[in-house]
Symmetry: D2
Protein backbone atom coordinates (compact mmCIF):
# COMPACT_ATOMS: atom_id res chain seq x y z
CA UNK A 1 0.00 0.00 0.00
CA UNK A 2 2.96 2.36 0.37
CA UNK A 3 3.77 2.84 -3.28
CA UNK A 4 5.05 6.13 -4.69
CA UNK A 5 2.31 8.56 -5.51
CA UNK A 6 1.66 10.55 -8.62
CA UNK A 7 2.72 14.14 -7.93
CA UNK A 8 -0.64 15.50 -9.05
CA UNK A 9 -2.47 13.25 -6.59
CA UNK A 10 -0.16 14.26 -3.77
CA UNK A 11 -0.81 17.90 -4.60
CA UNK A 12 -4.57 17.23 -4.61
CA UNK A 13 -4.32 15.69 -1.14
CA UNK A 14 -2.19 18.55 0.17
CA UNK A 15 -4.58 21.16 -1.24
CA UNK A 16 -7.59 19.42 0.28
CA UNK A 17 -5.82 19.23 3.64
CA UNK A 18 -5.01 22.94 3.46
CA UNK A 19 -8.68 23.71 2.83
CA UNK A 20 -9.81 22.05 6.08
CA UNK A 21 -9.99 24.89 8.58
CA UNK A 22 -10.36 22.28 11.34
CA UNK A 23 -6.86 20.99 10.62
CA UNK A 24 -5.50 24.54 10.89
CA UNK A 25 -7.35 25.18 14.17
CA UNK A 26 -5.90 22.09 15.83
CA UNK A 27 -2.42 22.86 14.47
CA UNK A 28 -2.21 19.68 12.40
CA UNK A 29 0.39 19.01 9.75
CA UNK A 30 0.37 16.53 6.90
CA UNK A 31 3.52 14.50 7.48
CA UNK A 32 3.43 12.11 4.56
CA UNK A 33 1.24 11.03 1.68
CA UNK A 34 1.79 7.70 -0.01
CA UNK A 35 -0.50 5.50 -2.04
CA UNK A 36 -3.22 4.48 0.42
CA UNK A 37 -1.19 5.62 3.42
CA UNK A 38 -1.27 9.07 5.02
CA UNK A 39 0.27 10.41 8.23
CA UNK A 40 -0.97 13.51 10.07
CA UNK A 41 0.22 14.87 13.39
CA UNK A 42 -0.82 17.58 15.81
CA UNK A 43 -0.10 18.89 19.29
CA UNK A 44 -2.84 18.85 21.93
CA UNK A 45 -3.60 22.55 22.07
CA UNK A 46 -5.16 24.05 25.18
CA UNK A 47 -8.49 24.51 23.42
CA UNK A 48 -8.98 20.86 22.53
CA UNK A 49 -9.13 19.05 25.82
CA UNK A 50 -11.71 17.15 27.85
CA UNK A 51 -12.64 17.58 31.50
CA UNK A 52 -9.47 15.90 32.81
CA UNK A 53 -7.19 17.94 30.56
CA UNK A 54 -6.40 15.05 28.19
CA UNK A 55 -6.91 15.49 24.45
CA UNK A 56 -10.65 15.46 23.66
CA UNK A 57 -12.09 12.40 21.93
CA UNK A 58 -13.23 14.75 19.18
CA UNK A 59 -9.63 15.80 18.55
CA UNK A 60 -8.44 12.20 18.36
CA UNK A 61 -11.34 11.34 16.07
CA UNK A 62 -10.62 14.36 13.85
CA UNK A 63 -7.04 13.25 13.30
CA UNK A 64 -7.88 9.61 12.70
CA UNK A 65 -10.85 10.31 10.43
CA UNK A 66 -8.86 12.83 8.41
CA UNK A 67 -5.85 10.55 8.02
CA UNK A 68 -8.15 7.72 6.91
CA UNK A 69 -10.04 10.00 4.53
CA UNK A 70 -6.86 11.26 2.90
CA UNK A 71 -5.55 7.72 2.59
CA UNK A 72 -8.73 6.99 0.63
CA UNK A 73 -8.32 10.17 -1.40
CA UNK A 74 -4.81 9.13 -2.38
CA UNK A 75 -6.17 6.10 -4.26
CA UNK A 76 -9.03 7.94 -5.98
CA UNK A 77 -9.03 9.13 -9.61
CA UNK A 78 -8.08 12.77 -10.01
CA UNK A 79 -11.66 13.98 -10.51
CA UNK A 80 -12.99 12.53 -7.27
CA UNK A 81 -12.81 13.29 -3.61
CA UNK A 82 -14.17 11.32 -0.65
CA UNK A 83 -16.62 11.82 2.18
CA UNK A 84 -16.85 9.85 5.41
CA UNK A 85 -19.78 7.44 5.50
CA UNK A 86 -19.08 6.07 8.97
CA UNK A 87 -16.23 5.53 11.38
CA UNK A 88 -15.85 3.49 14.53
CA UNK A 89 -13.24 4.50 17.06
CA UNK A 90 -11.93 2.60 20.07
CA UNK A 91 -10.04 4.74 22.55
CA UNK A 92 -7.10 2.92 24.13
CA UNK A 93 -5.41 5.43 26.42
CA UNK A 94 -5.64 9.08 27.47
CA UNK A 95 -4.23 11.43 24.82
CA UNK A 96 -1.14 13.30 25.98
CA UNK A 97 1.97 14.66 24.27
CA UNK A 98 1.88 15.03 20.47
CA UNK A 99 -0.59 12.96 18.46
CA UNK A 100 0.24 11.11 15.26
CA UNK A 101 -2.47 9.57 13.09
CA UNK A 102 -1.79 7.03 10.37
CA UNK A 103 -4.56 6.32 7.88
CA UNK A 104 -4.55 3.41 5.46
CA UNK A 105 -6.76 1.83 2.84
CA UNK A 106 -8.03 -1.65 3.65
CA UNK A 107 -9.99 -2.08 0.44
CA UNK A 108 -10.61 0.29 -2.40
CA UNK A 109 -13.74 -0.61 -4.33
CA UNK A 110 -15.53 1.23 -7.09
CA UNK A 111 -18.33 2.40 -4.86
CA UNK A 112 -16.76 2.52 -1.39
CA UNK A 113 -13.33 2.61 0.23
CA UNK A 114 -12.82 0.75 3.50
CA UNK A 115 -10.21 2.41 5.69
CA UNK A 116 -8.50 2.18 9.05
CA UNK A 117 -6.41 4.52 11.17
CA UNK A 118 -4.27 4.39 14.27
CA UNK A 119 -3.65 7.35 16.54
CA UNK A 120 -0.65 7.31 18.85
CA UNK A 121 0.66 9.73 21.43
CA UNK A 122 4.35 10.66 21.32
CA UNK A 123 5.97 11.79 24.52
CA UNK A 124 8.75 14.41 24.65
CA UNK A 125 11.20 11.50 24.84
CA UNK A 126 9.80 10.01 21.65
CA UNK A 127 7.96 7.05 23.18
CA UNK A 128 4.82 6.14 21.24
CA UNK A 129 1.68 4.95 23.03
CA UNK A 130 -1.36 3.77 21.06
CA UNK A 131 -4.29 6.10 21.77
CA UNK A 132 -7.00 4.95 19.37
CA UNK A 133 -7.86 2.65 16.48
CA UNK A 134 -10.47 3.51 13.85
CA UNK A 135 -12.22 1.50 11.16
CA UNK A 136 -14.53 3.10 8.65
CA UNK A 137 -16.00 3.62 5.22
CA UNK A 138 -15.43 6.45 2.73
CA UNK A 139 -17.47 7.21 -0.38
CA UNK A 140 -16.07 8.78 -3.58
CA UNK A 141 -17.86 11.85 -4.93
CA UNK A 142 -17.21 13.62 -8.21
CA UNK A 143 -15.63 17.04 -7.82
CA UNK B 1 -35.31 8.13 30.43
CA UNK B 2 -36.24 11.81 30.82
CA UNK B 3 -36.89 11.91 34.53
CA UNK B 4 -36.06 14.95 36.69
CA UNK B 5 -32.50 15.03 37.84
CA UNK B 6 -31.02 15.52 41.26
CA UNK B 7 -29.69 19.10 41.44
CA UNK B 8 -26.26 17.94 42.58
CA UNK B 9 -25.95 15.62 39.59
CA UNK B 10 -27.00 18.37 37.21
CA UNK B 11 -24.39 20.64 38.73
CA UNK B 12 -21.76 17.89 38.35
CA UNK B 13 -22.63 17.56 34.66
CA UNK B 14 -22.55 21.33 34.11
CA UNK B 15 -19.19 21.65 35.87
CA UNK B 16 -17.70 18.84 33.83
CA UNK B 17 -19.00 20.43 30.63
CA UNK B 18 -17.46 23.76 31.65
CA UNK B 19 -14.09 22.07 32.17
CA UNK B 20 -13.95 20.78 28.56
CA UNK B 21 -11.94 23.41 26.70
CA UNK B 22 -13.00 21.73 23.45
CA UNK B 23 -16.63 22.67 24.11
CA UNK B 24 -15.59 26.28 24.68
CA UNK B 25 -13.50 26.38 21.49
CA UNK B 26 -16.38 25.18 19.34
CA UNK B 27 -18.81 27.55 21.06
CA UNK B 28 -21.01 24.76 22.43
CA UNK B 29 -23.68 25.22 25.04
CA UNK B 30 -25.33 22.68 27.31
CA UNK B 31 -29.03 23.09 26.52
CA UNK B 32 -30.58 20.55 28.88
CA UNK B 33 -29.66 17.82 31.31
CA UNK B 34 -32.18 15.20 32.29
CA UNK B 35 -31.79 11.70 33.66
CA UNK B 36 -30.05 9.80 30.84
CA UNK B 37 -30.79 12.51 28.30
CA UNK B 38 -28.55 15.50 27.47
CA UNK B 39 -28.78 18.13 24.73
CA UNK B 40 -25.82 20.20 23.50
CA UNK B 41 -25.74 22.67 20.62
CA UNK B 42 -23.13 24.67 18.75
CA UNK B 43 -22.68 26.84 15.69
CA UNK B 44 -20.33 25.73 12.92
CA UNK B 45 -17.51 28.19 13.51
CA UNK B 46 -15.15 29.09 10.68
CA UNK B 47 -12.33 27.12 12.25
CA UNK B 48 -14.16 23.78 12.33
CA UNK B 49 -14.89 23.00 8.71
CA UNK B 50 -13.80 20.40 6.17
CA UNK B 51 -12.55 20.96 2.62
CA UNK B 52 -16.00 21.80 1.22
CA UNK B 53 -16.77 24.26 4.01
CA UNK B 54 -19.28 21.99 5.77
CA UNK B 55 -18.87 21.25 9.47
CA UNK B 56 -15.95 18.84 9.99
CA UNK B 57 -16.73 15.24 10.93
CA UNK B 58 -14.61 15.81 14.02
CA UNK B 59 -16.92 18.63 15.10
CA UNK B 60 -20.02 16.49 14.62
CA UNK B 61 -18.36 13.63 16.46
CA UNK B 62 -17.31 15.94 19.32
CA UNK B 63 -20.87 17.09 19.87
CA UNK B 64 -22.41 13.62 19.63
CA UNK B 65 -19.76 11.94 21.77
CA UNK B 66 -20.00 14.65 24.42
CA UNK B 67 -23.81 14.57 24.54
CA UNK B 68 -23.71 10.78 24.86
CA UNK B 69 -21.01 10.93 27.52
CA UNK B 70 -22.92 13.46 29.61
CA UNK B 71 -26.10 11.40 29.26
CA UNK B 72 -24.12 8.54 30.79
CA UNK B 73 -22.69 10.84 33.48
CA UNK B 74 -26.21 11.90 34.45
CA UNK B 75 -27.03 8.35 35.55
CA UNK B 76 -23.76 7.71 37.42
CA UNK B 77 -23.31 7.88 41.20
CA UNK B 78 -21.96 11.20 42.43
CA UNK B 79 -18.39 9.92 42.90
CA UNK B 80 -17.96 8.67 39.36
CA UNK B 81 -17.40 10.15 35.98
CA UNK B 82 -17.26 8.44 32.58
CA UNK B 83 -14.79 7.97 29.75
CA UNK B 84 -15.56 6.98 26.18
CA UNK B 85 -14.61 3.38 25.37
CA UNK B 86 -15.75 3.46 21.75
CA UNK B 87 -18.19 5.24 19.49
CA UNK B 88 -19.48 4.52 16.02
CA UNK B 89 -20.80 7.39 13.95
CA UNK B 90 -22.76 7.30 10.70
CA UNK B 91 -22.84 10.62 8.86
CA UNK B 92 -26.17 11.25 7.14
CA UNK B 93 -25.88 14.70 5.55
CA UNK B 94 -23.48 17.63 5.28
CA UNK B 95 -23.41 19.75 8.44
CA UNK B 96 -24.69 23.28 7.92
CA UNK B 97 -26.51 25.81 10.10
CA UNK B 98 -26.48 25.25 13.85
CA UNK B 99 -25.86 21.76 15.22
CA UNK B 100 -27.84 20.14 18.00
CA UNK B 101 -26.74 16.88 19.62
CA UNK B 102 -28.99 14.73 21.78
CA UNK B 103 -27.35 12.02 23.86
CA UNK B 104 -29.26 9.25 25.61
CA UNK B 105 -28.58 6.16 27.69
CA UNK B 106 -29.56 2.86 26.08
CA UNK B 107 -28.47 0.70 28.99
CA UNK B 108 -26.76 1.58 32.21
CA UNK B 109 -24.92 -1.37 33.68
CA UNK B 110 -22.58 -1.57 36.63
CA UNK B 111 -19.47 -1.88 34.51
CA UNK B 112 -20.42 -0.11 31.26
CA UNK B 113 -23.02 2.32 29.96
CA UNK B 114 -24.30 1.87 26.40
CA UNK B 115 -25.27 5.17 24.81
CA UNK B 116 -26.54 6.70 21.60
CA UNK B 117 -26.69 10.20 20.17
CA UNK B 118 -28.28 12.03 17.25
CA UNK B 119 -26.86 15.18 15.71
CA UNK B 120 -29.13 17.40 13.64
CA UNK B 121 -28.57 20.59 11.73
CA UNK B 122 -30.99 23.48 12.27
CA UNK B 123 -31.40 26.00 9.48
CA UNK B 124 -32.08 29.70 10.09
CA UNK B 125 -35.76 28.93 9.47
CA UNK B 126 -35.72 26.27 12.18
CA UNK B 127 -35.89 23.19 9.95
CA UNK B 128 -34.04 20.22 11.44
CA UNK B 129 -32.10 17.81 9.23
CA UNK B 130 -30.50 14.68 10.69
CA UNK B 131 -26.71 14.90 10.29
CA UNK B 132 -25.40 11.90 12.22
CA UNK B 133 -26.27 9.00 14.49
CA UNK B 134 -23.85 7.58 17.05
CA UNK B 135 -23.80 4.41 19.13
CA UNK B 136 -21.18 3.77 21.76
CA UNK B 137 -19.92 2.58 25.11
CA UNK B 138 -18.89 4.61 28.16
CA UNK B 139 -17.02 3.34 31.22
CA UNK B 140 -17.44 4.70 34.76
CA UNK B 141 -14.28 5.77 36.61
CA UNK B 142 -13.99 6.85 40.22
CA UNK B 143 -13.20 10.52 40.66
CA UNK C 1 -41.59 4.85 8.61
CA UNK C 2 -44.36 2.31 9.16
CA UNK C 3 -46.42 3.03 6.09
CA UNK C 4 -48.32 0.33 4.21
CA UNK C 5 -46.19 -1.48 1.69
CA UNK C 6 -46.79 -2.26 -1.93
CA UNK C 7 -47.78 -5.92 -2.17
CA UNK C 8 -45.09 -6.61 -4.78
CA UNK C 9 -42.39 -5.22 -2.50
CA UNK C 10 -43.62 -7.27 0.43
CA UNK C 11 -43.53 -10.37 -1.75
CA UNK C 12 -39.98 -9.49 -2.85
CA UNK C 13 -38.91 -9.22 0.80
CA UNK C 14 -40.62 -12.50 1.72
CA UNK C 15 -39.03 -14.33 -1.22
CA UNK C 16 -35.58 -13.01 -0.35
CA UNK C 17 -36.06 -14.07 3.26
CA UNK C 18 -37.12 -17.55 2.14
CA UNK C 19 -33.94 -17.84 0.04
CA UNK C 20 -31.63 -17.29 3.07
CA UNK C 21 -30.78 -20.78 4.23
CA UNK C 22 -29.31 -19.24 7.40
CA UNK C 23 -32.77 -18.02 8.42
CA UNK C 24 -34.15 -21.53 7.94
CA UNK C 25 -31.32 -23.11 9.95
CA UNK C 26 -31.90 -20.86 12.95
CA UNK C 27 -35.68 -21.36 12.71
CA UNK C 28 -36.41 -17.67 12.05
CA UNK C 29 -39.72 -16.34 10.85
CA UNK C 30 -40.55 -13.02 9.19
CA UNK C 31 -43.17 -11.51 11.49
CA UNK C 32 -43.96 -8.27 9.70
CA UNK C 33 -42.84 -6.15 6.77
CA UNK C 34 -43.73 -2.48 6.60
CA UNK C 35 -42.15 0.42 4.77
CA UNK C 36 -38.70 0.73 6.34
CA UNK C 37 -39.62 -1.49 9.28
CA UNK C 38 -39.19 -5.27 9.48
CA UNK C 39 -39.59 -7.71 12.38
CA UNK C 40 -38.00 -11.17 12.51
CA UNK C 41 -38.03 -13.65 15.38
CA UNK C 42 -36.38 -16.94 16.21
CA UNK C 43 -35.91 -19.39 19.06
CA UNK C 44 -32.43 -20.06 20.43
CA UNK C 45 -31.91 -23.55 19.05
CA UNK C 46 -29.46 -25.91 20.71
CA UNK C 47 -26.98 -25.54 17.87
CA UNK C 48 -26.60 -21.76 18.13
CA UNK C 49 -25.22 -21.18 21.59
CA UNK C 50 -21.98 -19.92 23.10
CA UNK C 51 -19.87 -21.49 25.83
CA UNK C 52 -22.27 -20.54 28.64
CA UNK C 53 -25.31 -21.84 26.77
CA UNK C 54 -26.69 -18.39 25.96
CA UNK C 55 -27.55 -17.50 22.36
CA UNK C 56 -24.33 -16.96 20.36
CA UNK C 57 -23.40 -13.40 19.38
CA UNK C 58 -23.42 -14.61 15.80
CA UNK C 59 -27.08 -15.63 16.14
CA UNK C 60 -28.04 -12.26 17.61
CA UNK C 61 -26.08 -10.49 14.88
CA UNK C 62 -27.71 -12.62 12.17
CA UNK C 63 -31.17 -11.64 13.30
CA UNK C 64 -30.39 -7.94 13.73
CA UNK C 65 -28.43 -7.65 10.48
CA UNK C 66 -31.15 -9.47 8.54
CA UNK C 67 -33.97 -7.39 10.02
CA UNK C 68 -32.02 -4.21 9.21
CA UNK C 69 -31.23 -5.42 5.71
CA UNK C 70 -34.84 -6.26 4.94
CA UNK C 71 -35.96 -2.90 6.33
CA UNK C 72 -33.62 -1.36 3.76
CA UNK C 73 -34.91 -3.70 1.05
CA UNK C 74 -38.47 -2.61 1.77
CA UNK C 75 -37.66 0.96 0.68
CA UNK C 76 -35.70 0.00 -2.46
CA UNK C 77 -37.03 0.08 -6.03
CA UNK C 78 -38.29 -3.26 -7.29
CA UNK C 79 -35.19 -4.01 -9.38
CA UNK C 80 -32.72 -3.64 -6.51
CA UNK C 81 -31.68 -5.59 -3.51
CA UNK C 82 -29.25 -4.67 -0.73
CA UNK C 83 -25.99 -5.94 0.72
CA UNK C 84 -24.54 -5.17 4.14
CA UNK C 85 -21.61 -2.74 4.02
CA UNK C 86 -20.97 -2.66 7.75
CA UNK C 87 -22.76 -3.15 11.03
CA UNK C 88 -21.90 -2.32 14.61
CA UNK C 89 -23.51 -4.29 17.39
CA UNK C 90 -23.57 -3.60 21.12
CA UNK C 91 -24.62 -6.57 23.22
CA UNK C 92 -26.70 -5.57 26.24
CA UNK C 93 -27.65 -8.80 27.98
CA UNK C 94 -27.29 -12.57 27.59
CA UNK C 95 -29.68 -13.98 24.99
CA UNK C 96 -32.28 -16.33 26.45
CA UNK C 97 -35.86 -17.23 25.56
CA UNK C 98 -37.12 -16.31 22.10
CA UNK C 99 -35.38 -13.51 20.18
CA UNK C 100 -37.17 -10.76 18.28
CA UNK C 101 -35.29 -8.40 15.97
CA UNK C 102 -36.73 -5.13 14.69
CA UNK C 103 -34.96 -3.44 11.78
CA UNK C 104 -35.64 0.11 10.65
CA UNK C 105 -34.37 2.60 8.12
CA UNK C 106 -32.68 5.70 9.54
CA UNK C 107 -31.94 7.30 6.20
CA UNK C 108 -32.50 6.06 2.71
CA UNK C 109 -30.18 7.75 0.23
CA UNK C 110 -29.57 7.06 -3.43
CA UNK C 111 -26.24 5.40 -2.84
CA UNK C 112 -26.53 4.02 0.68
CA UNK C 113 -29.17 3.17 3.26
CA UNK C 114 -28.40 3.79 6.94
CA UNK C 115 -30.19 1.32 9.21
CA UNK C 116 -30.62 0.29 12.82
CA UNK C 117 -31.97 -2.74 14.61
CA UNK C 118 -32.88 -3.80 18.13
CA UNK C 119 -32.85 -7.38 19.31
CA UNK C 120 -34.84 -8.33 22.41
CA UNK C 121 -35.32 -11.54 24.30
CA UNK C 122 -38.86 -12.63 25.18
CA UNK C 123 -39.35 -14.87 28.16
CA UNK C 124 -42.05 -17.55 28.36
CA UNK C 125 -44.11 -15.04 30.37
CA UNK C 126 -43.80 -12.47 27.57
CA UNK C 127 -41.38 -10.09 29.28
CA UNK C 128 -39.06 -8.39 26.79
CA UNK C 129 -35.43 -7.66 27.67
CA UNK C 130 -33.19 -5.71 25.28
CA UNK C 131 -30.34 -7.94 24.09
CA UNK C 132 -28.58 -5.87 21.43
CA UNK C 133 -28.64 -2.69 19.39
CA UNK C 134 -27.18 -2.44 15.89
CA UNK C 135 -26.35 0.46 13.61
CA UNK C 136 -25.16 -0.05 10.05
CA UNK C 137 -25.00 0.70 6.36
CA UNK C 138 -26.58 -1.15 3.43
CA UNK C 139 -25.81 -0.68 -0.25
CA UNK C 140 -28.33 -1.17 -3.08
CA UNK C 141 -27.33 -3.49 -5.92
CA UNK C 142 -29.18 -4.09 -9.16
CA UNK C 143 -30.72 -7.53 -9.42
CA UNK D 1 1.59 -10.82 20.25
CA UNK D 2 2.37 -14.34 18.98
CA UNK D 3 4.23 -15.65 21.99
CA UNK D 4 4.02 -19.27 23.12
CA UNK D 5 1.08 -19.96 25.33
CA UNK D 6 0.85 -21.66 28.67
CA UNK D 7 -0.55 -25.17 28.06
CA UNK D 8 -3.28 -24.68 30.65
CA UNK D 9 -4.47 -21.51 28.93
CA UNK D 10 -4.50 -23.22 25.55
CA UNK D 11 -6.56 -26.03 27.04
CA UNK D 12 -8.97 -23.50 28.55
CA UNK D 13 -9.41 -21.89 25.11
CA UNK D 14 -9.90 -25.24 23.41
CA UNK D 15 -12.46 -26.36 26.00
CA UNK D 16 -14.39 -23.12 25.68
CA UNK D 17 -14.39 -23.45 21.89
CA UNK D 18 -15.68 -27.03 22.18
CA UNK D 19 -18.54 -25.82 24.38
CA UNK D 20 -19.86 -23.40 21.73
CA UNK D 21 -22.55 -25.37 19.91
CA UNK D 22 -22.59 -22.62 17.25
CA UNK D 23 -19.02 -23.50 16.27
CA UNK D 24 -20.02 -27.15 15.90
CA UNK D 25 -23.08 -26.30 13.81
CA UNK D 26 -21.06 -24.26 11.33
CA UNK D 27 -18.34 -26.92 11.18
CA UNK D 28 -15.63 -24.63 12.57
CA UNK D 29 -12.25 -25.79 13.76
CA UNK D 30 -9.77 -24.05 16.02
CA UNK D 31 -6.60 -23.93 13.91
CA UNK D 32 -4.18 -22.26 16.29
CA UNK D 33 -4.02 -20.57 19.67
CA UNK D 34 -1.16 -18.27 20.52
CA UNK D 35 -0.83 -15.45 23.04
CA UNK D 36 -3.33 -12.84 21.81
CA UNK D 37 -3.69 -14.50 18.42
CA UNK D 38 -6.25 -17.16 17.46
CA UNK D 39 -7.16 -18.68 14.10
CA UNK D 40 -10.48 -20.41 13.36
CA UNK D 41 -11.71 -21.76 10.02
CA UNK D 42 -14.93 -23.16 8.63
CA UNK D 43 -16.55 -24.20 5.38
CA UNK D 44 -19.65 -22.38 4.16
CA UNK D 45 -22.22 -25.07 4.80
CA UNK D 46 -25.48 -25.13 2.86
CA UNK D 47 -27.46 -23.96 5.87
CA UNK D 48 -25.50 -20.76 6.43
CA UNK D 49 -26.03 -18.75 3.27
CA UNK D 50 -27.79 -15.53 2.31
CA UNK D 51 -30.22 -14.95 -0.55
CA UNK D 52 -27.52 -15.03 -3.26
CA UNK D 53 -25.99 -18.23 -1.92
CA UNK D 54 -22.89 -16.53 -0.49
CA UNK D 55 -21.94 -17.10 3.15
CA UNK D 56 -24.34 -15.19 5.43
CA UNK D 57 -23.07 -12.08 7.21
CA UNK D 58 -24.00 -13.79 10.44
CA UNK D 59 -21.65 -16.66 9.64
CA UNK D 60 -18.78 -14.30 8.85
CA UNK D 61 -19.51 -12.33 12.01
CA UNK D 62 -19.65 -15.54 14.10
CA UNK D 63 -16.19 -16.57 12.96
CA UNK D 64 -14.62 -13.13 13.38
CA UNK D 65 -16.24 -12.44 16.74
CA UNK D 66 -15.27 -15.87 18.06
CA UNK D 67 -11.66 -15.59 16.86
CA UNK D 68 -11.41 -12.15 18.45
CA UNK D 69 -13.01 -13.36 21.68
CA UNK D 70 -10.65 -16.30 21.98
CA UNK D 71 -7.67 -14.06 21.26
CA UNK D 72 -8.82 -12.01 24.26
CA UNK D 73 -9.36 -15.17 26.32
CA UNK D 74 -5.79 -16.27 25.58
CA UNK D 75 -4.41 -13.25 27.47
CA UNK D 76 -6.77 -13.50 30.46
CA UNK D 77 -5.90 -14.96 33.86
CA UNK D 78 -6.95 -18.58 34.29
CA UNK D 79 -10.03 -17.77 36.39
CA UNK D 80 -11.60 -15.42 33.85
CA UNK D 81 -13.38 -15.69 30.58
CA UNK D 82 -14.59 -12.95 28.25
CA UNK D 83 -17.86 -11.72 26.79
CA UNK D 84 -18.34 -9.54 23.72
CA UNK D 85 -19.26 -5.95 24.55
CA UNK D 86 -19.47 -4.72 20.98
CA UNK D 87 -18.09 -5.47 17.55
CA UNK D 88 -18.04 -3.56 14.30
CA UNK D 89 -17.72 -5.47 11.06
CA UNK D 90 -17.00 -4.18 7.56
CA UNK D 91 -17.77 -6.67 4.81
CA UNK D 92 -15.29 -6.48 1.93
CA UNK D 93 -16.33 -9.19 -0.51
CA UNK D 94 -18.86 -12.02 -0.89
CA UNK D 95 -17.96 -15.06 1.18
CA UNK D 96 -17.15 -18.11 -0.90
CA UNK D 97 -14.85 -21.11 -0.49
CA UNK D 98 -13.54 -21.86 2.99
CA UNK D 99 -13.43 -19.07 5.58
CA UNK D 100 -10.50 -18.38 7.87
CA UNK D 101 -10.78 -15.92 10.76
CA UNK D 102 -7.78 -14.49 12.60
CA UNK D 103 -8.42 -12.75 15.90
CA UNK D 104 -5.85 -10.62 17.70
CA UNK D 105 -5.56 -8.45 20.79
CA UNK D 106 -4.99 -4.75 20.16
CA UNK D 107 -4.88 -3.76 23.80
CA UNK D 108 -5.40 -5.80 26.92
CA UNK D 109 -6.45 -3.63 29.84
CA UNK D 110 -7.59 -4.60 33.31
CA UNK D 111 -11.22 -3.79 32.64
CA UNK D 112 -11.57 -4.29 28.87
CA UNK D 113 -9.74 -5.96 26.00
CA UNK D 114 -9.76 -4.26 22.59
CA UNK D 115 -9.61 -6.76 19.76
CA UNK D 116 -9.63 -7.04 15.98
CA UNK D 117 -10.21 -9.84 13.51
CA UNK D 118 -9.86 -10.47 9.79
CA UNK D 119 -11.90 -13.00 7.88
CA UNK D 120 -10.64 -14.25 4.53
CA UNK D 121 -12.02 -16.63 1.98
CA UNK D 122 -9.76 -19.39 0.64
CA UNK D 123 -10.49 -20.79 -2.80
CA UNK D 124 -9.87 -24.41 -3.74
CA UNK D 125 -6.60 -23.23 -5.33
CA UNK D 126 -5.53 -21.66 -2.05
CA UNK D 127 -5.98 -18.02 -3.02
CA UNK D 128 -6.99 -15.85 -0.07
CA UNK D 129 -9.43 -12.97 -0.51
CA UNK D 130 -10.22 -10.62 2.39
CA UNK D 131 -13.92 -10.94 3.28
CA UNK D 132 -14.29 -8.84 6.43
CA UNK D 133 -12.50 -6.82 9.10
CA UNK D 134 -13.79 -6.51 12.65
CA UNK D 135 -12.90 -4.24 15.55
CA UNK D 136 -14.41 -4.67 18.98
CA UNK D 137 -14.34 -4.77 22.76
CA UNK D 138 -14.37 -7.77 25.11
CA UNK D 139 -14.98 -7.72 28.85
CA UNK D 140 -13.44 -10.19 31.34
CA UNK D 141 -15.81 -12.00 33.68
CA UNK D 142 -14.90 -14.25 36.57
CA UNK D 143 -15.72 -17.90 35.99
Amino acid sequence: MSEPLDAAIEEKVRKSFAKQSMMKSIGAQLNSVEMGHVVISAPILDGFRQQQDFGHGGLIFSLGDTAAGFAALSVMPFNQEVLTVEVKINLLAPATGRLIATGRVIKSGKRLVIVAADVASISDEGTQTPVAVLQGTMIPVNI
